[in-house]
Symmetry: C2
Subunit: 297 residues, 2 copies
């Protein structure tokens, strides 16, 4: 894969998705080659036109020309074991382009598992050499405008770096943009949100299907990247993400080891049994298990 | 609280929500009194009329007369620190009834944190003596009929015990019910879903606002409970839930202890620093940290 073999990349991604036992070895082996990619995340409610937007942004980046990795994540189908739409349907324009690599991912078990797998796939694409990786995720949002409004106010204001109102020719789009701009400005002037960079979230109009607004979007993406870099915030965010990934992996592996030990350790097995039967509360059990398994500090 | 003081219950719930340090002591102290409640979970897309349905079901149970605990969970507002709608607005009919206890909960940090807090609040209400506890959760579903259809097929079929099509006088409701019944029957006859009980998920019509269909719903709830009990599945599900709660609490407490140890253990601190700086991959770091902190099995 490190020699540029796309088939090898695809196979490694499958190993990561299936949580094969050699995933730690794979990730260890590629680690040195990671860190070069810039990751652009796009989310929004179903029907917002995210795939089309990703398709257009990819076209622009390819024209530079820059290779692009795309991951389409569908966290809403936990039981199907595969993304609702296949790679090819999503981005037909790029299927024959050897410098665009598209992969769909869906939840196979837990959302946490999907998040970790996605993180590892990003690293694989990063090590492969994609300077841009686009992650498209179906949001848990609503399609009705009033509900989108509420959601914006409740949560997105805190996590989005750029708002795009796609299908901007539709009724209500301009009113929504005005309202968003007002909320964003209020949020910005009141000092809310991430304070690691001085950035008032822009609210952009787009009609991805008509290729309208894509240049302005990419311009803002680059402007935001520069702002992050100049403030030293990009590296800080990456550090925070590395710590979060470490913690998630640590508790997962700890949990797996405890589960394995229950098989051979009668004291652990008794504690687990008492909780299962309802004879012991979880808090007391946790205190016992940690006393039995952790070295003294 | 164990003497029936509602104000004490409310205060303990607040302590649980705020993760006060004495939560383990509280949960230990009430553990013996838990296990008597039957928990009914209601979820669905925004606008489906869940609150009205819960209100009507509560009225029926109160008429028996049975005390009812209600928890309204809003996982969609992670940053607001409070439920969108207050307790009183949701269920005005019951605010003066001393045998109905209503509490709203919203995400304060992580969804995992909300799930644990909700589990602990259920135990508090259980220990207080409510034989019925109703949990109303806003689903991550969609309001548009086509999307509801997809969601049903993708996931709900696996987790729901009863389907209620509320607002059944609306256009398309009967077609949706017919489609759901077909899917449910197919799922049942193909042996899908939980196999711990022989239960074909009923599809009910209701118009909660007009008090229509509530008796039939409660009848099915009771029938399902009997089916679970007769198959021994109720106890098995409770055991599985206790194990899941233990695991969640265990990894949370383990994580907290490791975080605390980093302060005093230079080797741990170095490993964390290397990951944060991008010099060490997470998988290698996890192997090191577990070797440093876990006793040998």
């Amino acid at each position: 894969m490190l020699d540029g073999d796309r088939l090898a990349l695809a196979r490694l991604i499958t190993r990561v998705e299936n949580r094969m036992p050699d995933v730690p070895d794979i990730m260890r082996a590629i680690h040195e080659r990671t860190g070069g990619a810039y990751v652009l995340g796009i989310t929004g409610p179903p029907g917002a036109g995210k795939s089309t937007l990703v398709d257009r942004v990819t076209s622009r980046l390819r024209a530079e020309p820059v290779p692009v990795g795309v991951i389409a994540v569908d966290p809403s189908s936990p039981f199907t074991g595969g993304a609702v739409l296949g790679d090819r349907i999503r981005m037909q324009a790029h299927t024959l382009d050897p410098d665009v690599f598209i992969r769909s991912m869906a939840t196979r078990g837990s959302l946490g598992g999907l998040a970790r797998a996605t993180g590892d796939v990003i690293k694989l694409m990063d090590a492969f050499g994609f300077p841009w990786i686009i992650i498209e995720t179906v949001g848990v949002g609503q399609t009705e405008l009033d509900i989108i409004r509420q959601a914006m106010k409740a949560g997105l204001m805190e996590v989005a770096d750029i708002f795009v109102v796609n299908k901007a020719d539709r009724d209500g789009a301009h009113a929504l943009m005005a309202e968003l701009r007002f909320s964003v400005h209020l949020h910005y002037t009141s000092g809310g949100g991430t304070k690691d960079v001085d950035w008032e979230v822009p609210v952009l109009a787009a009609q991805a299907a008509n290729d309208v607004g894509i240049d302005a979007l990419l311009e803002q993406v680059r402007k935001h990247r520069s702002a992050l870099e100049q403030a030293g915030a990009l590296e800080k965010r990456r550090q925070a993400r590395r710590r979060a990934e470490l913690e998630a992996l640590l508790v997962e592996e700890f949990s797996a080891q405890i589960t394995a030990r229950v098989q051979s350790d009668p004291a652990l097995a008794r504690t687990l049994e008492a909780v299962t039967a309802g004879a012991l509360d979880s808090y007391s059990a946790v205190a016992q298990i940690l006393a039995q398994t952790l070295k003294r500090p």
